[in-house]
Symmetry: C3
Subunit: 259 residues, 3 copies
């Protein structure tokens, strides 16, 4: 999407430009600052960005597609701390993923798997290190944040990871013909990449057929349309109104491309 | 309001102290981090403040009055990235405004015009630069953020702007006798500057007449009053209760000063 | 909780590692950025963390217990700017508290008193300095922020404080057998420290008796349980559901430990 992605492959032990948080911990809640306290201490000076803390709870699949689309807006060398982890405290692995020019730290529950499946070059590691004190419920702070900070600071101990032959849970590279996110305007993001859809195609959603518009300002006020959003996805929207509310759409609802 | 505003006029090519975001992109949504990623790369080290991402959607007029009041709390040399832009993708211009000691980047849809009308010294430019890749819907990230970052970093290319004879859409310097914002306590901010209102005046709103109180603690619990808020505006409030909810007030509702 | 708390006692005039905000100013509202503008100018380079801006309005007691539990996640030398201040503009004092290895700035209304009561070493000061311009309603920006910034920057003028013999309003060190916070998942935090409760104990809340589970993944989906949360408190939760909503629990509701 943006011109400053160079595609250069980074080494896991190189200092990084920023840490990007993508979680379901709640932007207004008590958890994010505790993660940042760890990052600030162990990777001082590295900027921390809050990409999303309201990723759909309890289901990593739509979030995996959202992350795969949004990562393109962040520069080479970004480290993503991606935690949507309903299985925290269970046996799922904690992993590190290098996918082309960026690095991801999170649970091995599929969340990182769409990024991995679409990348040209991929390496994966299991996190074998365990913190001296680990709460049962907040691995984001106790386990994932120290690893992400070490990667950002370029001082990850090599014995903390064990290379693996890929992720265990994989959702694949294909588009997801579902609603994956609804923004605060009520715009409806799907898991379909707009590059795969001709401008003459219709999108079927909630029993309606929607045509294409290039921009909000080209659509008549109050009528729904689809367009290529700023992350490259097919998005359903209405000019100055909430498409989600007026069409009754929710995360997980199916959509269909009709060419 | 605050003592550290020196009123010194800044040059457009001088390094700035902070970037202040004032948008309707949603504090908890996926857009702000994408803007910050651009700012962090192109103006590394410049602090970024989130003043408001919940500015009233779709209407720049109340937001223009809110911005004009709030800017006083930020220091000389601040760069405001102000984007409330229902016309994104249409023909409205993108502009830079220097108003006294601060700089503003945003759409020419009136949002910056109250700041401009109240400033002693004003210069305006049209942004003629276009990014190599520009999405149809997210000029905040693709167009406004790179310009704001260049100004903050003191390395704006002179050919990116074209000086103009003022803004196209102008709301004027006068107070706006309307509700312009409702905060999370339910306090009701108006576009009337308290310096223009005598302490003996009443404020009429939602069919009621409200008297003045100096502070929340001086008003009886549960009764509505008006006071001069921390941004210098007439604000309608109740002690330990939501005035907006109990009086049924919303952004855009009229108020009247009765002297 | 975390290993990096050294317990070393800090001097009030030593430069600090981070400023932590704990307020009821609203994470998405217009107030926090105004506070940060002051901190950024007067303590440039000090990271600022947003721990919570949605602390229960109008009642410092549950917030005092929440703060006492959460401070453990922040490192030695943190400065907390803690403002929940329904009495702003009234006669309550503004204070600075040193409690073991951290410093707290806020109103003397009980908010800091649980931290103080549980600390090994405590010193307290009244803030006698007044800013040149002080709004009646926003002491967070005008009074508390400059003091917190000076402490963080290690350049607090000694004449700005007057040492006192403790806080005026004191809630004491004991656990609070009430709901003190509900997070965005609907998990219900109590003011009971889990270290004081045996794993065989039941928690009575909303007329139900809840047993212990170590982790979310160990509890059957849809059934309520209690566990030791990541801040060391007894927390009532349900696996993949909102305990607060399904049990009808709110901040201030009583709970009981049944051994």
């Amino acid at each position: 999407m943006l011109a400053y992605n160079t595609g250069r492959r980074l080494d896991l032990f190189e200092i990084r430009i920023m840490i990007v948080l993508f979680t379901d911990f709640g932007a207004d809640d008590i958890y994010v600052a505790q993660i940042k306290a760890v990052l600030l201490q162990q990777a001082p000076g590295t900027p921390i960005l809050d990409l999303l803390h309201g990723a759909p709870n309890f289901d990593p699949r739509p979030a995996a597609h959202l992350l795969a689309a949004l990562q393109a807006s962040f520069p080479t060398g970004s480290v993503f701390l991606a935690v949507i982890d309903p299985g925290v405290g269970s046996a799922r692995d904690a992993v590190v993923l290098e996918a082309d020019d960026k690095t991801y730290v999170g649970p091995d529950n599929g969340l990182l798997s769409v990024v991995a499946a679409r990348a040209g070059q991929v390496r994966t590691w299991r996190i074998v290190w365990r913190p001296p004190m680990q709460s049962a419920s907040f691995h984001g702070r106790d386990l994932f944040a120290p690893i992400a900070a070490s990667i950002a600071a370029g001082n990850l101990g090599k014995d903390k990871l064990e290379e693996t032959f890929g992720l265990s849970v994989r959702f694949g590279a294909d588009d997801l013909a579902e609603v994956i996110y609804i923004d605060h305007y009520g715009n409806v993001l799907t898991g379909v990449r707009a590059g795969n859809v001709s401008r003459g195609a219709k999108i079927e959603a909630a029993g309606r057929l929607l045509g294409y518009a290039r921009a909000f300002s080209e659509a008549p006020a109050g009528s729904a349309f689809w367009y290529e959003n700023s992350a490259g996805l097919v998005e359903i929207a209405m000019n100055r109104a909430s498409a989600a509310e007026l069409m009754g759409l929710r995360v997980g609802d199916s959509v269909r491309v009709i060419s």
